[in-house]
Structures are given as C-alpha cells and as structure tokens.
C-alpha cells in the first residue's frame, strides 16, 4: 500500500475496519442480498464505531479526518463484495450527508447530521426523476412556497436507500421557468404525510433498496430549505466531484479485489497438468488488467489528495469515474472468464461482482454525460466554478 498517502493511523483504521466487516457484516451479506434489506442493527454498529463521522465536523460528533480515511472506508466496503451493501452505506454517508453538512443550517445539522453520524438516522439523496436522469435540469418535481411552508409535488426514481431511510434530501423546482437557476434542495422526514416509496427490482446491487418515490402535496416547514433558494443546481454539481471520485475509487477497489481473487484461484486450478496461471493467454490478459487497475488507483489517489487539499477537481473526478468504472467492468468480465464455469456460479464471488459493477458507468452520471463534460472542459475550454456556499 502506498505510503505516500497512508500513515500508520490510516493502516490501523484499515485493519480495524477489515476486522469489523469480517465479524459484523460478512456473515449477513448473503441474507441481505436475498432480502434487499440491510438490517438496522448494522447501521447502529457503524455509528458506534465512528465510521459515518470520518469526514464530518467534530461539533456534530464527527472526526474531521482527511479524505484518505474515506478512501479506506470505500475500498474496504468494495472488498467484501456486496456493491449493494456498500452503496447503502456510502449513499447515506457521502450523498445525503454531504448536502446536510454543506447546505444545512445549524439546526438542521443538529437534528440530522448528528443522528446520521451515530447511525440513528439514515438518509437518501433524491435527484433523478422518471423524466429527468442525465438531464437534471429537466426535473418536474416542484416546491411551492405557501406562507411558512413549502408544498412538494412530483416523483423521483432509482433512489438508493429510498425505502428504508429516515430522511430524504430532495431537489425540486422552486421556479419552473428559471431552468438551472430554479432548483432548490430540501430535507424532509420519511413520515411526512404524502411521501410513498416502492422498491425496484434490479440486475445488481441487490442488497440495496432502490426506490421510486412519490410526493403528493408534501408540506414541510420553510426552514427545511437547505442553503439558498435557486442554488440547488450548483450545489448538486459541486458535490458531483466528490460523488464521481467515490465511484472511481469504488471501481478500482472492486477491480483490485477481483484480480486478487482470480490470481489466487489461478494459482490453484489445474488444467492440462498445470495450474492455469501458467497459460500465457491468461497471464498476459491478467497483467493488462492489473496494469489498468493500478493506473486508475494511483490516479484516483492523486485526485483524492488534491481534493483533500481543497482544489476543485471536477475534471479529474469526472475522468476518474469514466476510466475506473470501464476498467472495473472489463476486469469483472475477464475475471469471470478466468474462473471458467465457476465464475458463473453464485457460490463464487465473480457472478455478483460482475452484475454489481455494471452500475458504475450508469449511476451518478453516465459515461456519455461524463464525456460531454470533459469535452466541454478540454475542447471548449469551459470552466466550472464551485458554488458560492
């Protein structure tokens, strides 16, 4: 492991986290993959261990640590091979909580961030809609101000933690005619009248509760507006840098896990009188993938380091997700091949890894959209600036 980024404390954390995941999480994974429900007790245990608070202020019970603690959390979550469980954890910790921390008022943070860090409250982030996925600004959900309240109407889809979370961070139009400038971010409790959710069945991430959510005249206090009215779009874009880097890191970590598994397997499986790691066709293929994985990993660490230093790395984070998720899909596909028929079997890890990995180039900005963004920055010399707050 690279000592350029990881200190002895980081390593102690990694080891502790590995021990924790092995003891408390791994024994339940197969069950959660079947039921699509991550049980509550594990959220509490994560909270007690302090894992939700790594990147958040001490004032709200966090630890305010550098980003490489987050890198370790993400990597180790991938290495227990349940993309769905990992997604539940990081969507809470880095999608929902990032907005609460950055845009929430002190009162909102006291109520939601503190409880998110202890694991008592789980959050989700609702941006995607049936008629506005890649085209975020096309969203139709509205928030209309009435006195001291906002009334929300509309629907969201593909929301991670969408069924079992306790609160929702929701993007909605406060001015339908203002395009990008008409969007705002709200927080609301799950039990607010008018919110309903339906669980969706899907290819992978099976432990995760992905949901379609409807808002039917949901009335919330005006103080549940997070940040300024009309600033929703820049807030979302701003956090996309972190979100994309997270998905890039997840990708290199699951590829690393898959390659390590395949390496071990290939050193034991015999064919034609020798272990299959002696066949040149497999050796070369393995090495190509390994080299791609390592290039992505080192690039991702560099981007994490710059983000940690406060640089606005929107282009680099976009490249990280674009390249790392493609690499991880190729690794997953080929690692199934290395295992032959066993690769296709549920008793072996590659089958799940292959279907979980496929979300990488879709969620949180498709690869096509990412290329569009990079093209605008590199070819058209467009500059993206961080939002005001």
């Amino acid at each position: 492991m690279s000592n350029m980024y990881f200190t002895e404390e980081h390593q102690l954390f990694r080891q502790s986290l590995q021990d924790f995941l092995k003891k408390e999480v791994v024994p339940h994974i197969d069950k959660w993959e079947k039921t699509g429900t991550v049980e509550r007790f594990i959220w509490k245990k994560f909270g007690e261990m302090g894992f939700f608070g790594l990147a958040y202020p001490e004032e709200y019970g966090g630890l305010n640590l550098d980003l490489f603690y987050t890198v370790i959390l993400l990597e180790e979550l991938q290495k227990i091979n349940s993309g769905g469980f990992a997604a539940n954890i990081w969507a809470h910790t880095y999608l929902a909580m990032t907005h609460v921390n950055k845009e929430g008022s002190h009162e909102i943070k006291e109520k939601y961030l503190t409880a998110s860090i202890t694991g008592e409250k789980i959050g989700c982030l609702c941006i995607t809609e049936p008629f506005g996925g890649s085209d975020v600004a096309a969203m139709r959900t509205t928030a209309v101000k009435k006195g001291d309240s906002y009334v929300i109407n509309g629907s969201k889809t593909f929301i991670t933690n969408g069924v079992y979370s306790d609160y929702l961070v929701v993007a909605a139009k406060t001015d339908v005619d203002a395009g990008h400038n008409g969007m705002s971010i709200f927080i609301m409790d799950r039990d607010t009248p008018g919110i309903s959710a339906t669980k969706l069945d899907k290819l992978g991430w099976r432990a995760s509760d992905t949901a379609e959510i409807a808002f039917d005249n949901v009335t919330i206090p005006a103080s549940n507006l997070m940040g300024e009215e009309g600033k929703g779009f820049p807030y979302i874009m701003q956090h996309f840098a972190l979100e994309r880097l997270i998905m890039g890191i997840n990708a290199h970590a699951r590829a690393e896990y898959a390659l390590e598994y395949a390496r071990q397997y290939m050193s034991e499986r015999m064919a034609f009188g020798k272990t299959i790691n002696k066949f040149q066709a497999l050796r070369h293929s393995f090495v190509d993938l390994y080299a791609d994985m390592e290039m992505c990993r080192e690039y991702n660490y560099m981007v994490a380091s710059r983000l940690n230093n406060g640089e606005y790395v929107v282009k680099e984070a976009t490249i990280s997700k674009l390249k790392s998720t493609k690499m991880a899909d190729e690794v997953a596909y080929q690692c199934v091949q290395f295992l032959g028929g066993y690769g296709y079997m549920e008793e072996y890890p590659m089958a799940r890894l292959l279907r979980d990995s496929r979300l990488g180039p879709i969620g949180g900005g498709t690869s096509e959209i990412l290329r569009e963004i990079i093209a605008k920055m590199v070819i058209d010399k467009k500059e993206y600036k961080p939002a005001a707050k």
Partner: protein, 248 residues
C-alpha cells in the same frame, strides 16, 4: 492496581510461512502481524479491570520499531500507555530478562502474559518473569478475579479445571477463557484517534545473554495425495496401510 500486559507481535495465522538465510531466520516479507491471540484475551480482561476496578493498564513489547503498530492497536483498544524495549526478541530468556526489568522499575501488581505466543510457541516467558521478579504465578489461566490483593484464578488442567487462590504481585500465563472470542474488541475511531496521543515510551535494553541459538527451521512435509479405496475393498485398504503408509 497497576497492570502490565505483555504483548507479543506475531504473524497472523493465515500468513504463509517461509524461512531465509539457510532456514535460520523467519521471512517477514509480506506477512501481516497481529497481537498474539493469548495476549489479546489478557488485554481484554485487563480492560475489564480498568473499567470496573479503576486499574491502570500498560502494555509492553520487546522488539524493534516494526512492532509499534501492534502496540498502537493495544492503545486503541484502550490501554493507557505503552512501552517498547528496543531490542530484537531473540529467545525466551532474553525477553524475560528485559520484561523483568520493566516490571521491577514500574512496580506492577499484576502482569498478564499469554500462555505462549503463536509464533515460536516457547511458552517460557511468563514462568521466567514470575521467577525473576519473585511473583506468584498461575499458568494456563482461564479466569481471574482480584479483590484488594487477593486473587482467585482458574487454570486449565488436563481434562478439567483447577481453581486456586493466591495474592498479588502475580504473573499469569493467560489464554482463551479469560474472556471469550466474542468479547474481543475492535478499536473504534475514537480509540484509534486517542491512541495517537497516548505515550509510547521506547526504552533501551539492558545487557542480557541468550541461552539458545536457532540452528535451523523446518516446515512440516507437504501433505501427500489422497488415495480413495472402494468401501468393499478392505484388503486393499489393509495392504496400503501396511505397505505404503506403514502405520499397521
């Protein structure tokens, strides 16, 4: 009560074991190190004395700087301070001499060592330090209660248990049973962050002699292939056991 827990820094049981320098040295390359399991049971029991009876807990290791992460982990679990005696742990006697010095200087009431460390399995250190420091000694200890200076301890004996009473100062050779596996603690984030601020003192070793020298290590012979014998072919089974395995 002042407790000293001796922490041995040992390879994880899943590590691949190899030797170098003509099979005279253990090859630490790529090996993951952990707190010796017997010591971890002892450390966890010590944490109970700290929390329930206000004991102070110091951990000690005889070894080079590479063992410090193991001591930091013990601090993250909750020990108050750590001592590292800066010398290679060459044999049981040399280690016991270093530890006896630490015990005498620190006037510890209770010394918890592991019954044996899972690397070289010498099992000598606890008895030797009890002898060198003139303390009472309970080996293979599976339960430990302290009231004032009175101690009740249970030892594992062949096929059963023996409960003994004794007094502080005491050295125990601990093992599983002091606490159960499910009681072992994984350091949480607060523990890890606090470990950074706790004192880790590095002491220079006293002059000591070693009583043994490693001449050669050998791994067990690799397991042979399995031969399957049909259930109705007992003659063949007897033949193989007699002529090939030579066990009957």
């Amino acid at each position: 009560m002042k407790i000293l827990v001796c922490i041995s820094h040992v390879p994880d049981t899943t590590s691949k074991i190899n030797f170098t320098e003509g099979d005279t040295k253990f090859d630490t390359n790529g090996v993951q190190f952990v707190i010796n399991p017997n010591d971890e049971f002892g450390l966890t029991r010590a944490m109970w004395f700290k929390e329930k009876q206000g004991a102070s807990v110091t951990v000690v290791n005889v070894g080079g700087p590479e063992t410090e992460p193991t001591l930091r982990k013990a601090l993250a679990i909750g020990a108050d301070e750590a001592i590292r005696v800066n010398t290679e742990a060459i044999d049981g006697f040399a280690v016991a001499k270093q530890l006896a010095k630490v015990i005498e200087d620190g006037a510890y009431d209770l010394v918890i060592a592991g019954r044996e460390s899972i690397d070289y399995n010498g099992g000598m250190v606890p008895g030797m330090i009890a002898g060198l420091t003139n303390a009472n000694f309970v080996n293979n200890c599976i339960s430990l209660e302290v009231e004032g200076t009175n101690v009740t301890a249970t030892r594992e004996i062949d096929g059963g248990k023996e409960t003994v009473t004794t007094a502080l100062p005491l050295v125990i050779g601990g093992q599983k049973g002091l606490v159960e596996e499910s009681d072992l603690r994984i350091p949480n984030m607060r523990g890890i962050m606090m470990a950074r601020k706790k004192p880790l003192q590095v002491l220079e070793p006293i002059a000591t002699e070693t009583e043994t020298t490693s001449v050669k290590f050998e791994k067990p012979a690799p397991k042979g292939a399995v031969t399957l014998v049909a259930p109705d072919n007992l003659d063949e089974l007897v033949n193989l056991l007699h002529n090939e395995a030579k066990v009957i």
